[in-house]
Amino acid sequence: MDWIDALLIPAIKSLVVIVVLLLAFAYMTYVERKLVGRFVRRYGPNRAGPFGLLQPIADAFKAIFKEEVIPTEVDKWLYVICPGIAVAGSLIVFGVIPVGDSFMAWGRKITMVVADVNVGVLYVVAMAGLGLYGIFLGGWASNNNFSLLGALRSTAQVITYELPMGLAIASIATITGSLRFGDIIAAQKTLPLIILQPVGFLVYFISGMAEINRSPFDMPETENELVSGYSTEYGGIKFAIYFMAEYINMIVMSILVATLFLGGWQGPFAHLSPLLQLVWLVVKAAVVLFVFIWVRASIPRVRYDKWMKFGWKFLVPLGLANLAVTAVVVALVA
């Protein structure tokens, strides 16, 4: 184990992952605006560059050069630090997700994951809770009634929907016998888990959309009741960073759904080339992302108290029942 293996390669991998995620975020905003526009028969962004393709870059420059306004009433320290916590929390989740098998380069075997740890899924669930404090404390620090309400809602929603998510993951683990992403992907070699776990998939998908505050469950920022929720007092680069955290969460969630239920990087001919594995993963994640946007464009927002009730009184019992049924079926088969 020399220093190239120990430090240089993981450092390069980390940088590559983060840069790719940032680019994906930039073009995700473009794709979403374009798609939502088409869904309601608008054009979406089409001024900056051909087909509006330069729009994300224009947005980035706007955010960087925008004047900084820190309201006098805010808790300044938390106000400045919280967007950073939110985005760091969403970035580090990606560290354990494999995007392919491995390839040889310069005589070294390079695995296509930063670290495929034994407790991978647990790590993802745990770290997702960390970014939450960026949102909660940022909303609190804004010293604004609506921001605080948005922050409170965000916390309550995320903790409520973490339970069904955990139950769905436990159901997967009874089948795969591991929490490592590599093993879970390998277990789906013949059959993706969505076929064995349709209810688990549904539970995971819905709670996943709640965890990342996607419309129709975007309670923390319901613009018709809370102005803009936790991010109301933010502007310029700090708002952009919150926005980034939200979209990176969305991308990570789509890749998690693809990895846990759709077979990850596996697919026809995927063993031929690592590039093809990457393509399979991206295609699967893109389908999930499209569904996220499709749902946003089609379904009106639910009411908050009903939404919380749905989580506790429907999704949690459903997750428990699914786990019990899965356990019994696995016992019968084995």
Binding site: D75, W77, N118, V119, Y123, A126, L132, L137, E162
Partner: protein
């Protein structure tokens, strides 16, 4: 290298812990407490107890800290700068804390620490942990835990529920 990482991690954890207790703003304290919990999880990682590190972040950062923040929001005069940091019972608390420190220090001092590494944990430790949980040795504590959780739930509902 492991030693250097350990020292840096401990210093960060202890520094954040110090800020938690000295800071006047409880929400700042809550954020530092999150850093402390993550730092402790890092120490678990260094001990190769990966599962416990994950659980540490999941339970302490994800759940307990939320509970603490909601508890902070229950307190009166939260942002009043005139509230004193000490109350009349500070000396009693200091004595109890000092006693606890002495007890812990003695226990740690007397404990026979292994001089050599105890060996690598097996690759399958999560499954082994799961087997141990339902094995005859631990099944009673395991079921008692669920009773304990039930009691905590019922008790908190009885106390906190507004009639």
């Amino acid at each position: 290298m492991a030693q250097a990482i350990f020292i840096i991690l401990s210093l960060i954890t202890l520094g954040c812990a110090l800020v938690v207790v000295t800071n006047r703003n409880l929400f700042h304290s809550a954020l530092y407490l999150a850093f402390v919990f993550v730092g402790v999880a890092g120490l678990y990682f260094m001990l190769q107890a990966e599962f416990f590190a994950g659980i540490q972040v999941l339970i302490y950062v994800g759940a307990i800290l939320t509970l603490i923040i909601f508890a902070i929001m229950l307190s009166r005069d939260l942002m009043n700068p005139n509230v004193r940091g000490f109350n009349r019972q500070w000396w009693a608390a200091a004595i109890v804390a000092g006693l606890l420190f002495v007890v812990l220090a003695v226990v740690l001092w007397r404990a026979p620490w292994p001089a050599a590494p105890v060996g690598e944990p097996s690759a399958d430790f999560i499954a082994e942990l799961g087997q141990a949980l339902v094995s005859p040795a631990y099944v009673l504590p395991f079921e008692v835990v669920s009773i304990l959780l039930l009691a905590a739930l019922v008790g908190s509902i009885l106390i906190a529920r507004e009639r």
